[in-house]
């Protein structure tokens, strides 16, 4: 479980995160949603340690990330996997080499065992046939799946996904969402997903926090979305005509 306690972050004079408190539980897909510029990427980067908050606590199963030594952080990072918006695969390496990279770096297994583990992860995301291709030779959706395979190679306890569906068509987005959700429950990981994809919200939103101008505005899960009374949350979720109609139909039921 990851807990955030009174997290503050600012850039020069601008407060980007203000008093964020949240709990992200194991075995659940925890979503952080909000408009572009609301601070959700800063929040995600602060949680994984790419940015340092001014105040607050980030507890990984009770261990405060912000007060850890450099070596403790390094050890904890090996329990993390992250899927970036751009997939962030290494261009000069094949798909198999990309997935093997964390194993090559941190595992003491033999070469054959590392290859077997990487192939297992690729098989898990249905990409075993693409193992010899380079990232530039596969589609955006496949790149995201390779990123998932690389993220789970070291059996992480914590999985972070920064807008995993960005740039993907709705059908591929559903595949990626389902994959992340399945992996989360299968390995009982704490998964945090940054998104503004409404399909993700309604599909895999086991737990949702809504960020508005750096503050947590609403908290709930996918079953509570249609009954939410927070005006800013509703303005964000039901911005499109399609979702407005869906809400009307849901409330008429």
């Amino acid at each position: 479980m990851i807990e955030l306690k009174s997290l503050y972050k600012s850039f020069e004079d601008k407060d980007v995160l203000i008093d964020i408190n949240a709990q992200f539980e194991n075995g659940k897909t925890n979503l952080i949603i909000g408009q572009s510029g609301s601070g959700k990427t800063v929040l995600m980067k602060s949680i994984v340690g790419l940015l340092t908050p001014e105040k607050g606590k980030i507890l990984y199963d009770g261990r405060n990330f912000l007060s850890m030594s450099k070596n403790e952080k390094k050890t904890l990072r090996r329990e993390m996997g992250m899927i970036f918006q751009s997939a962030a695969l290494f261009d000069s390496q094949t798909v198999l080499e990309n997935v093997m990279f964390p194993l090559d770096m941190f595992s003491n297994d033999t070469y054959r065992e590392r290859v077997r583990r990487a192939q297992f992860c690729l098989d898990r995301v249905n990409l075993i046939d693409a193992q010899d291709k380079y990232p530039g030779e596969i589609s955006g959706g496949m790149q995201k799946r390779v990123a998932i395979a690389r993220a789970i190679a070291l059996n992480p306890q914590y999985l972070f996904c920064d807008e995993p569906n960005s740039g993907l068509d709705p059908k591929t987005s559903l595949v990626i969402d389902a994959l992340i959700h399945d992996i989360t429950t299968e390995y009982n990981m704490t998964t945090i997903i940054n998104t503004h994809d409404m399909n993700s919200v309604m599909g895999i939103g086991d737990s949702i926090i809504f960020i508005y101008q750096g503050q947590k505005e609403w908290e709930g899960d996918k079953t509570q979305v249609f009954t939410a009374t927070n005006q800013r949350f509703n303005d964000f979720i039901f911005a499109s005509d399609l979702l407005k109609k869906v809400r009307e139909e849901e409330t008429h039921k």
């Binding site: 994984v48 340690g49 790419l50 952080k73 390094k74 050890t75 904890l76 990072r77 090996r78 993390m80 992250m82 970036f84 918006q85 751009s86 962030a88 695969l89 290494f90 261009d91 990279f101 964390p102 090559d104 770096m105 941190f106 972070f160």
Partner: protein
């Protein structure tokens, strides 16, 4: 005024911090050597062609220019060979060749790391707990520094072959006079001077370019700017340190 003084100091500070992170013990020696060998090919072996080509023509041009400009009944004919050798050995094959390499290798390093930064590949390494500066930059610096003496030797040899070609095919002067001049008063120390200068310049090219690439913020325009800035800064630093090293090693 503050910006004029503080910005260069802040940049120097950032560079030193990056170098401190770079010169750490690699997380995995196996991965370091793999990267090191890759970089030796990428930065060193792939530069042999341009080094040979430029050195060959410069060697030939120097010979012709010296022959044309210092020809005199009072001047021994071997002076052309002697001067060509001294120019190739002391300046061209180390300093000027490194300026050329700053353009080729430096922009390559800066744009590669800059692209990795903007496509979040460096962030991905950091999240995994990898010291990205050490993993990406150290192999580049060590590979270029260890390949540069070979490139200097190739450059000197190509320059001398170029000089001989002006004798064999251009009839500019007698090949025997050139050969005598090339061997006249040869000092081994000058070869070592060339190597020392080359190794220092290799460090400047790789570390400065890596700094500009690694610290890119923004998108593709910033990567292009970092690439240009790295070439300019490396070239200026090479010229300045050439002056200092020439004075120290003379």
């Amino acid at each position: 005024m503050n910006t004029l003084i503080l910005k260069p100091i802040a940049t120097l500070g950032k560079y030193l911090i990056l170098m401190w992170r770079t010169f750490a013990r690699p997380d995995r020696m196996r991965m370091f050597f793999k990267q090191y060998l890759n970089e030796m090919v990428q930065l060193g072996v792939n530069s042999i062609g341009i080094v040979l080509l430029i050195s060959f023509f410069i060697g030939a041009v120097i010979t012709i220019q010296i022959k044309l400009n210092i020809e005199s009944p009072w001047m021994p004919r071997f002076v052309v060979g002697y001067t060509t050798r001294e120019i190739m050995l002391l300046e061209f094959s180390s300093s000027i060749m490194c300026l050329i390499l700053a353009g080729k290798v430096g922009s390559n390093i800066a744009s590669e790391l800059g692209t990795m930064r903007v496509t979040q590949q460096i962030d991905a390494l950091e999240i995994m707990g990898v010291n990205s500066a050490n993993y990406l930059i150290l192999p580049k610096i060590t590979a270029l520094m260890s390949m540069i003496p070979f490139l200097i030797v190739f450059s000197i040899v190509a320059g001398i072959i170029g000089a001989f070609c002006t004798c064999w095919f251009g009839g500019v002067l007698n090949a025997e006079d050139l050969e005598y001049g090339l061997q006249y008063c040869f000092q081994e120390w000058f070869v070592w001077c060339s190597f020392i200068k080359g190794i220092v310049f290799a460090f400047i090219i790789s570390s400065v370019s890596a700094f500009f690439g690694y610290t890119v913020e923004g998108g593709s325009i910033s990567v292009g700017k970092a690439s240009t800035d790295s070439v300019v800064m490396s070239s200026v630093l090479i010229l300045f340190s050439d002056l200092v090293l020439t004075r120290l090693l003379a």
